[in-house]
Symmetry: C2
Subunit: 342 residues, 2 copies
DNA sequence: GGACGATGTGAAATCGATTTCAGTACTTTA
DNA sequence: TAAAGTACTGAAATCGATTTCACATCGTCC
């Protein structure tokens, strides 16, 4: 009924609180007789140790924070799964925080994590200059692992995909297929993924000895509307592109929508390559060629780094870079059959 | 640096701990002089009150649990947003727990919430007989609000969509369009949404005076693979259906995939109506007609009920039923133009 | 001018767990 | 047989906040 405390268990079992605590924590040096009596008492009373009290004493917590910008983004969903599974396996409970890419919300959540004395925090930071917000949390003894985005003047463990390589491969793919006017819809340039992906494109152009038409390079903000707008802009040019590379999944959806509305056939009139795969990318119209990031593995690695850091705080920082993979579908490069989907 | 406690703040400011606590909690009867000194001390030391200690005293928490079956399901994603926004506005922090529809995980998370003395828990239960797992949590004084799925022998506040009506509308829509052999791919029948949606279909058939061909009613489990398999089953029948109603979003994607693989044209050869909308439903091939549930509002209402319950535990239980909406797109009913997307 | 209320502050108890320290009983070892 | 472990248990301190109670000061009212 009400909440049972260790004191009541102790009385019920006829032992001291210390003994109950020892049974609870699987101490050595407890007689079988007492252990059983205490166990029975706990069962009978439905005892649940109060975690606040526990944490207060232990100065540590079995909670870890996961701060992401947008739960509607499929990449982050898979990431969450990866983090969750890895954490669950290690008895850590994940508190998921959604910042909406709002620095204030991020600050609020970081504050919560610090006050909570979390075991650690995995963060996809909202801005590349979030260092001053992150540093005090780390100084308070809470390990921080960054994912996906780097922060200036804040060295830390980080897990990310090889954005340069991914974008480079995608662009090379387009060039090899013979597309002449390739538009780039890049993402937020104040964030490393945005910059790196754009750099990857340039590298591809360089390697293949192609001059870039800067009029065809548009910079968006990773949101759906942005992809939509910029695609319309591209297609209304005097000399529209014959292919578009879009730097993330949400903007790809925006691009797709714009092209549909304009009645433009993909890939016949314009080919499309996106970044970040989605399980239903093959069911879009047309099935979308994308660079697939290993979101689940990003999450798992993040937890691994977090625990490693918690164990030995003074090791040099790690940078784990996972490789993306180009998945070719109908929107660019796969002409197998009209209704084929992968 | 290290973690600052109230004691250190008190010393720094030259006052007692009690006074610092009063400043912290905006007590009346604090002189401006002292208030300022304490504020400065807190700022100077970077003080963050320890939440465990706070909670231990207060017997209450500013954490609420949100237990969902699958974060990859778009309905639950919007729900999460709804809950989060409503909670954020009321200074509650949401701990998101993903059960994978695994009752053991659910039990584990409920235990955590109880031990945490959470302010409340919003649950989409894994099974309709989860009563015995939920009851003790509520008895421990933690308000519980169910969403989407009901539980037998466990009356509680609940928010859900009008599944019967939604399915009925969808089916009626199909019948009105003149489809003769309508297949139903229903969801898990041990869960109320699965049962109610199927019932809605039957009601539509009844109202329109149509006899149901039971060979065309298949029961799946709400997962993508299930929709895929059952659709293949349907289409390999001697007399295949000319329309399919699928009872949730993931199974719809499975159905779509199966039809694509079989090279079947939608809606020319078979029309398709799904349940649960997705932002990119209009970008699928073809744009998908679906019954849209108000996920965001479900989440908001859930938090509202939770707080109401916390405030007055003895009020009779509420049942909030929100209305879904049929969104007609190309996969069934909208023939406007080849590339139109909404 | 004494009583009363409003204002402002501190010492100490409290929340529910863990942990240290000390003590008892029982073995083992020299 | 005394000394030294080993096994087991309890009293009390502790973690960092909040809250009660007591007390001091000041103004006001009759």
């Amino acid at each position: 009924m009400a909440n049972v405390t260790i004191k009541e268990v102790a009385e019920y079992a006829g032992v001291s609180q210390a003994t109950v605590s020892r049974v609870l924590n699987h101490h050595a040096y407890i007689s079988d007789d007492v252990r059983q009596r205490v166990q029975q008492a706990m069962d009978a009373l439905g005892y649940q140790p109060n975690r606040s009290a526990r944490r207060l004493r232990a100065h540590s917590s079995d909670i870890m924070g996961l701060i992401i910008p947008d739960i509607q983004n499929h990449l982050f969903q898979t990431l969450v799964r990866g983090v969750e599974d890895a954490a669950y396996a290690r008895q850590l409970n994940v508190v998921l925080c959604n910042t909406d890419d709002n620095p204030d919300k991020q600050t609020a959540y970081l504050r919560v994590m610090q006050a909570e004395r979390a075991a650690g925090v995995v963060v996809i930071p909202t801005r590349s200059n979030d260092g001053p917000v992150l540093a005090p949390v780390r100084e308070a003894g809470i390990p921080i692992v960054l994912v996906d985005r780097e922060v200036v003047n804040f060295e830390a463990d980080i897990v990310k995909a090889d954005n340069v390589r991914g974008a480079c491969e995608a662009t090379t793919h387009l060039i090899r297929l013979g597309y002449q006017r390739i538009a780039i819809i890049a993402g937020t340039q104040s964030l490393t993924p945005g910059r790196e992906r754009l750099r990857g494109c340039y590298e591809a152009f360089d390697e293949m000895g192609i001059r870039v038409d800067s009029a065809l390079v548009k910079v968006g903000n990773f949101r759906l509307e942005s992809g939509y707008e910029l695609t319309r802009e591209c297609m209304s040019m005097a000399e529209p592109p014959d292919a578009i590379f879009v730097a993330n999944n949400l903007m790809s959806l925006g691009a797709l929508r714009a092209l549909h509305e304009l009645g433009i056939r993909i890939p016949e009139q314009v080919a499309l390559v996106g970044f970040d795969d989605m399980p239903w990318a093959g069911d879009l119209n047309p099935p979308l060629t994308t660079v697939s990031q290993p979101g689940y593995e990003l999450g798992q690695q993040a937890v691994r780094l977090l625990l490693q850091r918690a164990e030995s705080p003074d090791l040099p920082y790690n940078k784990v870079i996972l490789q993306p993979r180009l998945v070719v579908r109908r929107s660019c490069g796969a002409y197998l059959s009209v209704n084929h989907r992968d």
